[in-house]
Amino acid sequence: MADTGTISIGAESEERMRLHGEETYPYECCGALLGRDVADEGRREILEVFPLVNRREDSPRNRFSLSPRDVLAAEREAVTRGLDVLGWYHSHPDHPARPSEYDREHAWPWYSYIILSVRQGVTAEVRSWRLAEDRSQYAEEDLEVRRPEEVKR
């Protein structure tokens, strides 16, 4: 498994994601992760999250999807803020924060996929995952929450 380096997220952004998961409970929420990937230093920093609307109206309790338009909107948002789209987050209502088979079949490498486990309306664990190069499985990334005084520029 390739070494995925470290990934960190600002405390405010993490809180925003958690709230998004709680607002949409019992349905899945989703959004984009914006930030910088300093590949040479093996460091990935999520600086902002961009909440989006789950397009799956037929099965939102256990499925989410974002259209190509949503993806382009996220990319445009990233560009205006001088950032990149590093990946996506979504929630699993009343389910562990582990990627499912369905997640794996629809994933691309390089992206960080953050999953929130929202239990009975309260966000519990938040974990980040990257797809293996051969698509066979995910490797978990060590997600660090940055407190305000730790922001690296």
Binding site: S59, S67, P68, V71, S100, H106, W108, W110, R135, Q137
Partner: protein
């Protein structure tokens, strides 16, 4: 005719970091064909194994989705731009409390549905069921396959081991190409292929007292397909503490056993075996051998019992120990009663948490090691050196005749069990080197000879396996 293909950020790592590439092409298919030919690693992320564009990959020609044009046959011309944009999709493993079957599921399980004993109601019970398989080896193979085929909605596979070449004799979920892969992952892939409608989760982890309770909590039924005593006791205790049924199966050479422990008014494993056997007494498959199809039969019986539990059908093996003799092709049954004084499931429980099972079974470390005998040893290289020098050494082979036929060092064969009776065949004035397959039995032989007064004795360390590794690789290993 040059067409520009924009490469999305996540895939640039497979395209030498490029953001775009240009190719001569008359259609979108041709352009993408050139792209994946030049950057081979891109292919699997854009196309399925069957060569179709993955459902979440959207291709645009000059801003228009090719689905609304001629799909991959859309014609391209000089200066066109192709964009590849993913849809992002995902979700939790299984529908929350599935209330109905899809049309596809109805077709898949039609052979279940037409039986009144199962029907739609039964199939939905299977869909809602969550079963955890401990072990994905000889027993786990048919278990996983049949439970997946039957439509058990959520399956968990616990195994921290890696597929070994010797497994293929009986662990039929794996293929030759899986050797070296983690078992739980390889099994998950096989089961997901058999039935993509269910959720199969692989837990590539060792089951321990620290994680068992948490792991078991998410499942309704636990199926014990393991091969060692500490884990058997661990699974049992965790099931009784959590109140979950434990569908048990075990095998040894030509005999198999199956029953269900952990039911509310039924016995548990400790009722049957309050004490574990002394370490080293009961051999593993590697030591004792097993006919490959035997776990196939016992594992299938476990799958059957699991399905019956879920459906609430028939009479299950609670309180009944089914013993299967493959050579005689006979089944016998023994009544198993709950032991009222059982420390785990009896009236006055004294065990309230998971313990150190390795200590309980008198074992330290990963597997039950043979009793530690202090015997004089000689390594294969040392033995070879001495034989080459012309030393007069007597090689004593204490294996069984059928092992001698596989490979041998032309030693004098006296199977270990016959040694006491045939010790007179040995000359105590000669230097004797005893060997077996791995060095365990021969250590016992040397210990016996020393107690019988022999002084010039050595145990071949590592046995004929080590000889094959270190001296003569042409000797087959088994």
């Amino acid at each position: 005719m040059s067409v520009k293909v924009m490469i999305p950020t996540p895939l640039r790592v497979h395209a030498e970091g490029k953001a775009a590439a240009e190719f001569p092409a008359k259609t979108v298919a041709e352009a993408l064909g050139h792209l994946t030919a030049e950057f081979r690693d891109l292919k699997q992320h854009l196309f399925t194994k069957e060569g179709k564009l993955r459902s979440f990959v959207n291709v645009y020609l000059n801003g228009e989705d090719i689905r609304y044009l001629e799909q991959e046959n859309t014609a391209t011309k000089d200066g066109d731009t192709i964009n590849i944009i993913p849809s992002i999709a995902g979700g939790a493993p299984v529908a929350v409390a599935p209330e109905k079957l899809t049309n596809e599921e109805i077709l898949r399980y039609s052979r279940h549905l037409i039986m009144p004993e199962v029907g739609m109601e039964g199939q939905l019970k299977l869909k809602k069921a969550k079963v955890l398989l401990i072990g994905t080896g000889g027993l786990g193979a048919p278990l996983g396959l049949y439970l997946a085929a039957a439509g058990v909605g959520q399956l968990g596979l616990v195994d921290f081991d890696v597929v070994d070449f010797t497994n293929l004799q009986r662990q039929v979920t794996f293929g030759s190409s899986d050797v070296g892969k983690p078992k739980s992952q390889a099994a998950r892939a096989r089961l997901a292929n058999l039935n993509p409608d269910i959720a199969v989760e692989a837990f590539e982890t060792k089951l321990t007292s620290e994680n068992a309770l948490e792991l078991f909590r998410d499942f309704d039924i636990i199926v014990d397909g393991t091969d060692n005593f500490p884990t058997r006791y661990l699974v049992n205790d965790a099931c009784v503490l959590l109140g979950k049924p434990n569908v048990y199966g075990s095998i040894f050479r030509f005999e198999g056993q199956a029953t269900i422990f952990g039911m509310p008014d039924g016995p548990c494993y400790r009722c049957l075996y309050p004490e574990p056997p002394p370490p080293g007494l009961v051999p593993s498959c590697a030591e004792g051998g097993v006919l490959g199809v035997l776990p196939g039969i016992v594992g299938s019986i476990q799958a059957m019992e699991t399905i019956k539990l879920i459906l609430g059908a028939g009479r299950n093996l609670k309180g009944r120990l089914l013993v299967f003799d493959a050579l005689e092709m006979g089944f016998r049954e023994f009544k198993l009663r709950k032991n009222p004084a059982c420390p785990m499931c009896g009236e006055h429980r004294t065990i309230h948490e998971l313990i150190d099972y390795y200590e309980f079974c008198g074992v330290r470390g990963e597997e039950a090691p043979a009793p530690d005998l202090q015997v004089p040893e000689i390594t294969p290289r040392e033995l070879k050196a001495r034989l080459d020098k012309g030393d007069d050494l007597f090689i004593l082979d204490v294996r069984e005749p059928h092992e001698y036929q596989i490979c041998n060092l032309e030693g004098h064969l006296i199977p270990l069990g016959e040694l006491p009776r045939r010790v007179h065949e040995l000359d105590s004035s000669r230097e004797i080197v005893a060997h077996c397959r791995s060095g365990k039995r021969s250590a016992e032989a040397i210990d016996f000879l020393r107690k019988a007064g022999f002084r010039k004795i050595h145990n071949l360390k590592g046995g004929i396996l080590a000889w094959s590794d270190e001296v003569d690789p042409s000797l087959p290993k088994y």
